[in-house]
């Protein structure tokens, strides 16, 4: 088991299976089709993201460096949360970006079930974690792999 310590942007405890995007995660491109066409698994629709394209995102521990793309990103993430299509948690290797922060915080303040969001986990975290790994997230920002 490997342990990493990050900063809880939205604190919480959760266990989930890792889904790893090594490149920037385009929120709009990834969720648009899933939200638009009622895909309950929320399969990633971003064809430019070869790591996770067409893989289910719902209920996963989404591991990523940052999000990229349209400034609607925060809103899209919030919609995914409310519509129960979001990951169980988001784990950022870098400092969270403003769009993802908006989505995670909107989900925390305006819904009853916040999505734990940890950032600053470091480059080694993203080099270590693999899609399919079991992940445990703790309130203080500790993340266990395996």
């Amino acid at each position: 088991m490997k342990t990493f310590k990050g900063r809880p942007v939205v604190p919480g405890t959760v266990e989930a299976t890792a889904l790893v995007s090594h490149g920037g995660f385009n929120t709009l491109a990834s969720f648009q089709n899933a939200l638009q066409f009622g895909d309950k698994e929320a399969k990633c629709g971003d064809q430019n993201n070869t790591d996770i394209y067409e893989k289910p995102m719902v209920g996963t521990a989404l591991c990523l460096p940052q999000t990229i793309g349209s400034t609607t990103g925060g809103m899209v993430l919030y919609c995914a949360k409310v519509m129960e299509r979001s990951p169980a948690c988001m784990l950022f290797s870098e400092h969270i970006d403003s769009l993802a922060a908006a989505g995670a915080i909107l989900g925390s303040v305006w819904t009853d079930t916040p999505m734990p969001t940890i950032d600053c986990l470091g480059e080694e975290f993203l080099n270590t974690v693999k899609t399919g790994d079991k992940i445990k997230v703790y309130e203080d920002g500790t993340v266990e792999i395996g």
């Binding site: 648009q32 638009q36 809103m75 919609c79």
Partner: protein, 428 residues
């Protein structure tokens, strides 16, 4: 809630619910957002108007409309009137039965009710739908030093860089919350330190660089950092006239979409660079030299997403971000000249020029309107990006001179000169 930043008694009152539970949640969202970026305080929004990014009544965004209803039910409203991004549909834009069906019966079924929500929250007028709210004809023109609560990456980078206003790259909803509370967190591009350049870009081209490619190259290199660009005034002058502003509008949109630039300084031209010069450059700034070969390399790296790359284009969009009045006139002259040179009467590819409704109105008052109509080009207020961002439209072969549109859709990029050549030559 636990927080580290310093709040004034007025801000604390909002957070503690003295203006109701919904306003307290708005303030809590803003405080948490600021804390995530190390904001030390909240500062008042000082601009006369706001600008929102979300203009589309997309059925799938129901949670957003429900949230808007909560704000309206609580009697909350933006403290400034605001403009908003362009509408996603315009009956004038070439379409077909399937597209119309998908747009009107499936995708944008919430447009009318969302427009009504925007009016209740403070939309300045029914023609305030544009990404270029800062055009004189539209009138949402912040002053230097104004603190903004805006979203729309191309408008934010223009306001920060060309107008000298101060705004972070906000997400949709956050910008509305800032306008409702009247405060934004003090971090990033709102601060003096956050406006310092961590990149020096040296433009060493032998011909005027295409704004959209230069912006793309810089965006991809510096990502969210602030670049200080030297050598560009050799090509666009030292005066912020209509030509320079239009160039910087397109350049900035490319920096913001191909990277995540929220502010750039142009040596000898943009207000802070004129005022403070190289003192804006942070210690240990990195250097990026751009010449003609580098721009060619960047342009050639753009993937072509069409299924059949050799087939003729089916649609052309010019105006992402929306065109200025001056650009509309220039494009009209160029298309008329091009058609004449090629012995044609109408453009060979269905072509749409897009601009703010207020700019379209002004244009339609001039002699250019009839000249443009005669070429077969459509003038529209539509958002090309929203038009293309769906499974039906994205299969079409669309060409554009916009690097933002290229980045977010399957459209194919050509320079303005190449586009002109394509649309004014006879169909193959």
């Amino acid at each position: 809630m636990d927080y580290k930043m310093e709040l004034t008694p007025e801000q604390l009152a909002l957070l503690n619910g003295e203006q109701g539970e919904t306003m307290a949640k708005v303030m809590k969202t803003l405080v948490m957002y600021g804390e995530a970026f190390g904001a030390t305080k909240m500062v008042p929004v000082t601009s006369e108007m706001g600008h929102l990014v979300t203009s589309f009544g997309l059925k799938v965004m129901t949670p957003v409309y429900d949230l808007m209803d909560q704000l309206i039910a609580a009697g909350l409203k933006s403290k400034q009137k605001f403009s908003v991004d362009p509408k996603p549909v315009d009956p004038k834009v070439p379409s077909n039965f399937i597209k119309n069906f998908v747009f009107n019966k499936f995708m944008y079924t919430k447009q009318d009710s969302y427009d009504e929500q925007l009016r209740k929250l403070g939309l300045v007028g029914d023609d305030a739908y544009t990404c270029t709210c800062y055009m004189n004809e539209v009138g949402n023109l912040p002053k230097k030093g104004d603190i903004l609560s805006w979203a729309e990456s191309s408008a934010v980078v223009y306001a920060n860089s060309v107008l000298g206003a101060r705004c972070n790259r906000n997400s949709g909803i956050i910008e509305l919350f800032g306008s409702i509370a009247g405060y934004v967190p003090y971090f990033g591009l709102v601060t003096d330190e956050g406006r310092k350049a961590t990149w020096i870009v040296e433009v060493k081209c032998k011909k005027k660089p295409e704004a959209q490619v230069l912006g793309s190259a810089i965006g991809m290199k510096v990502m969210e950092d602030v670049p200080y660009v030297k050598g560009l005034t050799d090509w666009i002058g030292t005066e912020l006239d209509d030509d320079a502003k239009a160039y910087l509008k397109d350049f900035g949109a490319a920096t913001a979409s191909n990277g995540a630039v929220g502010l750039y300084h142009i040596d000898g031209l943009t207000p802070e660079a004129v005022e403070m010069g190289e003192s804006l450059i942070a210690d240990n700034a990195q250097v990026y030299v751009i010449d003609d070969a580098e721009l060619e390399r960047v342009k050639n790296s753009y993937p072509v997403m069409w299924k059949d790359k050799d087939k003729a284009p089916q649609l052309c969009f010019i105006g992402c971000p929306h065109l200025s009045l001056q650009q509309l006139k220039e494009w009209t002259d160029n298309v008329v000249e091009g058609l004449k040179k090629n012995g044609q009467k109408k453009v060979s590819v269905p072509t749409v020029f897009t601009a703010a409704p207020a700019v379209c109105d002004e244009f339609n008052k001039t002699e250019y309107a009839a000249k443009l109509a005669a070429t077969g080009v459509t003038l529209s207020y539509i958002c090309p990006l929203m038009y293309m961002n769906n499974p039906v439209a994205k299969k079409g072969r669309v060409i554009t001179n916009s690097n933002k549109l290229r980045t977010y859709t399957t459209s194919r990029y050509y320079t303005s000169e190449e586009i002109l050549d394509i649309i004014t030559k006879g169909a193959k």
